[in-house]
């Protein structure tokens, strides 16, 4: 069944097919400029990055006499530091994303409830997300210092970022808090799009509030869960700045804050091994791509837009 607007051709302006082609032409014309920009600054560099990853590549380009080989991938395969960087990155993502989601959902539920001062709480919860991550991390270094505010309160002298056993988890906690505000916005939008009649029906049946949440709200938020999981999961796998700042650019203590992007940055821009850096980038890209496919298959398709 087609709609009326599509089936009625303009009088005297050719066939239905012609109109469709014309319409499609205009459509393509409109997307042309964004696609050129996208191709030039995204697709082309992506392809070129994959190309570079098969060569020994320095500051001035391809090393003289270099042949295409998988040597850079072999190097990565044998590089313990890269393995550690990947492990840290995945450990970080696995911990931080559920935490962000739980915290974001909780905040969204609080805001969505009809309480006094909603506008104030909404801003207060969102503020950490808009403050520069560099500023927040720097302040966190002071707070989590051995003689910082947190230790004064709990009465310990733990160097949270300076101890290999707590550094990664400290960043997880910090980032879950700063990102939760943004996650909250997505959940809030999804919560407000749930029709009220299902809640009314539940109320008529005398369903408890907890049961209503688990049986109605939570399942109906599925598209939001998927969206947040994918978007913030990818974001977590790209973590760099907080790790870089808390370790003062060393990835320490004991490699505990060395992330995959940190490794790529160091190989490419500090050591001028652009080939190895590009190969590590390709590995990270493939990992993110596969994870997204798995998430799509298991959690479901995103239906909010």
């Amino acid at each position: 069944m087609t709609s009326a607007t599509e089936t009625v051709p303009a009088p005297g302006r050719g066939s239905l097919l012609g109109a469709r082609v014309r319409e499609a032409g205009w459509g393509y014309l409109f997307v042309l400029l964004p696609m050129v920009v996208f191709g030039l600054f995204f697709i082309y560099p992506l392809g070129y990055g994959i190309y570079i990853s098969f060569f020994e590549w320095g500051i001035l380009g391809k090393a003289p006499g270099a042949n295409a080989s998988t040597a850079n991938y072999h190097d990565l395969w044998n590089d313990q530091v890269f393995h550690r960087a990947l492990r840290n990155t995945f450990e970080y993502a696995i911990l931080v994303v559920p935490l962000e989601m739980a915290l974001g959902l909780l905040l969204a539920l609080v805001i969505n409830a009809r309480i006094r001062g909603r506008a104030y709480f909404r801003s207060a919860f969102y503020v950490p997300s808009i403050v520069s991550s560099v500023a927040i991390t720097t302040i966190a270094i002071f707070i989590l210092n051995p003689d910082g505010l947190l230790n004064k309160i709990i009465g310990s002298d733990q160097a949270w970022f300076g101890d290999a056993s707590t550094a990664l988890y400290s960043v997880v906690g910090l980032n879950a808090w700063t990102t939760a505000g943004t996650v909250m916005l997505f959940y809030l939008a999804a919560l407000q799009s749930i029709p009220t009649d299902v809640y009314e029906a539940a109320a008529v049946d005398g369903t408890s509030r907890l049961r209503t949440f688990w049986r109605i709200t939570f399942p109906l938020l599925k598209p939001a869960h998927f969206f947040v999981l994918v978007v913030f999961g990818i974001g977590a796998l790209k973590v760099f700045d907080q790790f870089y700042i808390v370790s003062n650019g060393t990835g320490g203590p004991e490699y505990s804050t060395l992330s995959a992007v940190f490794y790529i940055y160091q190989e490419a821009f500090k050591s001028a091994n652009f080939g190895v850096g590009a190969a590590a980038g390709v590995v990270l890209f493939v990992a993110i791509f596969l994870l997204t496919l798995i998430q799509r298959a298991t959690v479901g398709r995103a239906e909010i837009g």
Partner: protein, 399 residues
């Protein structure tokens, strides 16, 4: 009346315009006769930038055929320069830190200087050899150190007095003994006798003092030096800056959380401006089996893509020559890398290290330093053996 005034105004405007245009043309013609050489480095504070601009102005006045155009590169210097090299548009003459020199030389972006040295009979013997070697591969020179600093021993005078110690430690044995005295007399309440960073940029000096080297990093001499450095932690005589809640050892000295640190000339202006009330003394770096120290140094080098290399050489050789370096030393911001240039007063403990200091830098620098320092932390924490660390470092130096 009104018309006359308008005519006068128009004449004045026209005259002014003529003057402006004529002087602009004049300036341009002056420029075209002089070859422009671009000069860049990072900023180490306004005082230093201003001093270099002054020196550049001096050069421009005394060399009418060359015009040096000095500009600071802000942000991450190595990354910014990498982009400039890749675009074949680097400054003609620029700073190279000894740590990144091997990487840039290997990448072929730095101009070898031997032919210029030969042609102009430039005397390289006045430079301290350990510093010059940081910018030399085989017999090829890739730059001349503009200044430098080694490490020295800095002590908190009041804490030393409380522990009954007269002077800064000079040997490994004295260092251990002093640290123990400071601890037993509780001279450093709320801190540790020593603040040692988990950084090979400090520990390597001890390695050199034990006749160790990076060329043979898995030798017993290196292992013994590492164990000596780590022993201060095991005995509870040292803490890292992080453990003391400070950013670097200088801050630990300033906040009186450590009585002994090993830092360079850069500590002096920092203490003067940030912790003027803390009384501290400076002694030469401790000595092990031999004297050994690290030279943190920066060269003036020329880009392979420099547009006018002869003019760039004139600038480079003047800046690193006796006259240029003497001017650069006038404010005492750094130490002279030439033995024929005098430093400002009070730098004797640093200068003593000139003849035996080795430039801080090695192949595959960035990746290796990451491994060195993370492994060192693991050794201090007891999660890795010294032998395993040295094996990792050896592999990375070769990779």
């Amino acid at each position: 009346m009104g018309r006359a005034r308008a005519a006068v105004a128009a004449t004045v405007v026209l005259a002014l315009l003529t003057v402006v245009v004529a002087s602009a043309a004049n300036a341009r013609s002056e420029r075209t006769t002089a070859t422009t050489v671009t000069l860049s480095g990072w900023s180490a504070g306004k005082t230093e930038d201003d001093l270099l601009q002054q020196i550049v102005n001096d050069f421009n006045t005394t060399h009418p055929n060359i015009h040096v155009d000095y500009s600071v590169i802000n942000g991450d210097y190595a990354t910014a320069m990498t982009a400039r090299f890749a675009a074949h548009n680097p400054p003609d003459v620029f700073y190279v830190d000894s740590s990144i020199a091997p990487t840039w030389i290997k990448q072929g972006v730095v101009q070898p200087l031997n032919s210029f040295i030969k042609k102009s009979k430039y005397d390289t013997t006045k430079f301290y050899p350990g510093l010059l070697n940081a910018f030399k591969v085989g017999k090829t020179y890739y730059g001349f150190p503009k200044d430098w600093s080694p490490l020295a021993v800095e002590i908190n005078k009041a804490m030393f007095a409380k522990a009954g110690i007269k002077k800064a430690p000079r040997t490994w044995a004295e260092l251990t003994a002093d640290a123990q005295k400071l601890a037993s007399s509780n001279a450093v309440p709320g801190g540790k006798p020593l603040c040692l960073p988990t950084d090979w940029a400090r520990m390597l000096a001890f390695v050199f003092q034990n006749k160790g080297s990076l060329a043979n990093v898995q030798s017993p001499a290196v292992a013994a030096a590492v164990n000596y450095y780590v022993s201060f932690f095991k005995k509870g005589l040292a803490a890292t800056p992080t453990q003391l809640g400070v950013g670097w050892p200088g801050e630990a000295l300033g906040k009186e959380k450590a009585a002994i640190i090993f830092e360079g000339n850069w500590l002096l202006p920092y203490m003067k401006s940030t912790f003027p009330q803390v009384g501290f003394g400076v002694g030469p770096m401790v000595k092990g089996k031999v004297n050994g120290n690290l030279g943190f140094t920066v060269s003036y080098s020329m880009a392979k893509d420099a547009k006018n290399k002869q003019a760039a050489w004139t600038v480079l050789s003047w800046l690193t020559g006796k006259a240029g370096m003497s001017k650069w030393m006038s404010l005492g911001l750094a130490l002279p890398s030439r033995s024929d240039v005098k430093a400002v007063g009070g730098r004797a403990p640093f200068l003593a290290a000139g003849p035996f200091s080795k430039g801080w830098g090695f192949p595959n620098f960035s990746a290796t330093l990451t491994i060195m320092n993370n492994d060192l932390q693991a050794v201090i924490d007891g999660n890795k053996t010294t032998a395993d660390m040295l094996s990792d470092v050896n592999a990375s130096l070769k990779g």
